[in-house]
């Protein structure tokens, strides 16, 4: 579903990501962990076409992102680490904007908006301007907008930040459902317990380089993910 081959990205003289390769198959929930500034957001942004790689190639559903970005973007949804949405729109207007872009038929979009808005308990707030939303409400709206076209691949940067426990629980369930129905998820997180419980596979990135990648069992062995992560990061456990 997502093939990252030798992706490299630099900002000026600093190499943010250095020649990483990750392969995510259908049905896989893939966690991406690392320190702040390790290169997680850069990688995720490159996978959704916001950043152009300096070297390497990214394929989504077998389609090269560099040569057919539009077709790739139709298959994915991206959730950034900070939900900077259009504050001048109301929640429903924003969702309809995204639905228009994905050409979702009117009745289908209405059913999906109602379903997810009720699930995340923001239905009554949809007519309000986004500028009046709390961080958590914006995050919920961003999640709904990411789910509205039923993407095959969901790219999420710290998706649980700002969510209340109930919404976090719901999101975890939705993520698992997407993977069970043949989709794939690539998400970054700092919460190792979440990654440990949720992910099928995990990759650890440090200083732009991939230092460990594989199934959860392969990566952690008999230890906890936290101790493996801290050991790999060179911290005292």
């Amino acid at each position: 579903m997502l093939n990252i081959n030798g992706f490299t990205k630099s900002y000026g003289s600093k190499k943010a990501v250095d020649d990483i390769s990750i392969h995510i198959h259908r049905g896989e929930l893939f966690g991406f962990i690392g320190h702040n500034g390790a290169g997680k957001t850069t990688t995720l942004k490159a996978c959704c076409g916001i950043l152009k790689p300096d070297a390497g190639e990214i394929f989504i559903d077998g389609i090269p992102l560099s040569s057919d970005p539009l077709e790739c973007k139709r298959r994915i949804a991206y959730l950034p680490d900070n939900p900077d949405l259009y504050e001048f729109m109301s929640g429903i207007r924003y969702l309809n904007f995204v639905a228009d872009v994905f050409a979702i038929p009117s009745s289908v979009r209405l059913e999906r908006i109602n379903r997810y808005a009720e699930l995340f308990e923001i239905k009554k707030d949809l007519a309000q301007p986004i500028s009046s939303y709390s961080h958590g409400m914006k995050q919920k709206l961003a999640i709904i907008s990411a789910l509205i076209h039923e993407p095959k691949l969901l790219l999420m940067d710290e998706p649980f930040v700002g969510l209340d426990p109930k919404a976090s629980h719901l999101l975890k369930g939705i993520m698992r459902d997407i993977c069970n129905s043949g989709g794939a998820i690539f998400f970054s997180t700092h919460v190792l317990e979440v990654a440990e419980k949720l992910c099928d596979k995990v990759a650890i990135i440090k200083g732009g380089k991939l230092i460990k990648c594989g199934t959860m069992e392969d990566v952690r062995g008999d230890a906890s993910l936290e101790s493996v992560f801290l050991e790999l990061e060179g911290e005292n456990v």
């Binding site: 009117s106 007519a127 939303y133």
Partner: protein
């Protein structure tokens, strides 16, 4: 604590001199000196303009024994200037300052926070009052031989006046804070208020010489009317011109007014600030109804998004489309005073002359060049740029939506202005058609060039939308670009005028603009689209 807060307040007020607002970096010593010099120069230029007006009135009024009227009139104007200039800033500084919540969470008395903020409010009012009153005092000194008392009171008056100005500003700020949470359509209200002030400003500017003439013609009538109806203004004038009793009385009025306002706003300051903290997050009474909505195309969705952004920001509407107001105003003025304009126009040009069409076209283009919607449209994507970049949207489509917004906004106003021009001047059909074609092509080209400038000098990392709208290189270039382009066409005409008739030149201009528009559009959909996709 008070000293510490005042120090913080000062460092905040003057931070624009030491830090680059665009990228948050510290300015170098040389850049700071240059900034200070620039602001001093700006202050001096404005003062010089007021000095010119003040010196016109000073000598005749002082010679006729109406020195108090001189100070009363300019004192009143300075007061108005101080209040209008600082009212909105006072509201922002007192009630919606970003650090309000942080300071209120600290062990600081609300009254100490208020007092520290009021120091900067007073200084701001003083700056505005001095801007107008300083040249007034200088003109008074230059035109009169004065004793110590006259000099002292004239110098002290602006400081007392600033107290009254800041008291009124605070009162207005307090009233705004009471209504801010309940107001709907704030952008449109801001637009209406701004247009009213703008109209008043232009009315006063255009009628300044006749107003001055009227004052000089009948100072006695104006003086007695002022003394009868607004006695404190008479006291201010008398005090500033050296009368001790009136100066003390006027100072007491100012201190009294300030004390009353201080008591009012200090009473519920903490409550108003905490309630107003969410003023920018006003919730509307709209209720979500789950009715199916009509599907739209990607292009229509992007255009609606651009339109929503435009109508949500008074800053964007006013600063990027000031020309639109002038176009409508010019059209209305032409329709009302068409006969007079026609008479004036053809008193220097023959009605059959082709040059009439050329000049009319240049005038229309000049007014329409004051619209720069596209010149900040890319930067305004700001931190939400990721949305368009991660959605399956062609960058070309996003840029076309920005161009369309400019055309949809300005074309109707251009059509109105062109209709008014053509009705007024009654030019031959060919001339009229050419004026219309060239004006529309000029508008299109400026929209495209504004977008190109913004793509070249895009800044999506702003924290305040005023920065891309008012303080960006692309907007500066777009505003002056239209003027420079017109000058270039004028120069070209003078070079070719011996061999080309004005009508032929209009045709050539149309052809040049059509070609330039095509090339600019090509640049937008190729280089521009790539640039937009890679912006970060």
């Amino acid at each position: 604590m008070f000293k510490l807060l005042v120090k913080k307040q000062f460092s905040e007020v003057f931070s624009f001199l030491f830090f680059n607002k665009k990228n948050g970096t510290k300015r170098t010593g040389g850049a700071v000196v240059m900034s200070v010099l620039l602001y001093v120069l700006l202050f001096a230029v404005v003062c010089f303009n007021f000095y010119f007006v003040a010196s016109t009135l000073c000598k005749p009024l002082c010679d006729a024994g109406f020195a108090w009227l001189y100070f009363a009139l300019f004192g009143l104007a300075a007061l108005l200037f101080g209040v209008v200039g600082s009212a909105l800033a006072t509201y922002n500084s007192l009630y919606v300052a970003k650090d309000n919540e942080m300071l209120f969470s600290m062990p600081i008395k609300p009254r100490t926070i208020l007092n520290a903020r009021l120091v900067s409010v007073y200084l701001m009012s003083l700056l505005y009052v001095l801007l107008m009153f300083l040249p007034v005092v200088i003109a008074y000194f230059v035109n009169n031989a004065l004793g110590f008392r006259e000099v002292l009171f004239a110098v002290l008056t602006p400081f007392v006046l600033a107290l009254l100005a800041s008291a009124i500003s605070c009162l207005l700020g307090w009233i705004i804070s009471l209504f801010a949470r309940r107001l709907k359509n704030k952008s449109f209200i801001t637009i209406v208020v701004s247009v009213v002030f703008l109209g008043a400003y232009y009315y006063l500017s255009f009628n300044m010489s006749s107003l001055l003439g009227k004052i000089l013609e009948s100072p006695l009538i104006i003086a007695s009317a002022l003394k009868r109806s607004v006695y404190p203004v008479y006291m201010m004038g008398m005090g500033a011109s050296g009368d001790t009793v009136n100066f003390i009385l006027f100072a007491l009025i100012c201190f009294g007014a300030a004390a009353i306002v201080y008591t009012i706003i200090a009473l519920g300051f903490a409550k108003t600030v905490i309630a107003g903290g969410s003023a920018s997050h006003t919730r509307s009474s709209a209720v979500y109804s789950d009715k199916p909505v009509r599907e739209g195309t990607v292009y229509a969705a992007l255009f609606k998004k651009e339109l929503a952004r435009f109508t949500s920001s008074a800053n964007y509407m006013l600063n990027a489309n000031l020309g639109l107001l002038f176009m409508v105003a010019a059209a209305v003025a032409l329709l009302i005073k068409g006969g007079l304009v026609r008479e004036l126009f053809f008193s220097v040009l023959s009605p059959s002359s082709d040059a009439a069409a050329l000049i009319a076209c240049a005038a229309v283009c000049l007014i329409s060049s004051m619209n720069v919607t596209t010149a900040s449209s890319v930067s305004l994507e700001g931190r939400s740029l990721w949305i368009v970049q991660s959605l399956p949207v062609r960058p070309q489509t996003a840029l076309n939506a920005k161009l369309k917004l400019h055309l949809v906004l300005i074309l109707p106003a251009l059509a109105l202005l062109l209709a008014a021009v053509l009705i007024t001047l009654r030019l031959p059909a060919l001339h009229s058609i050419l004026i219309c074609i060239v004006s529309v092509l000029f508008l299109l080209f400026l929209a495209e060039i504004g977008l190109i400038f913004n793509l070249k000098w895009a800044n999506v990392n702003w924290t305040n939308e005023v920065i891309p709208i008012k303080q960006s290189m692309s907007v500066f270039l777009a505003i002056f670009g239209g003027f420079v382009l017109l000058m270039a066409f004028a120069a070209l005409y003078f070079l070719m005028s011996s061999s080309v008739s004005p009508l032929t030149f209009l045709m050539i201009s149309g052809a040049i603009l059509a070609l330039a528009s095509l090339l600019a559009y090509r640049a937008i959909v190729t280089w521009g689209a790539e640039k937009f996709a890679e912006l970060s």
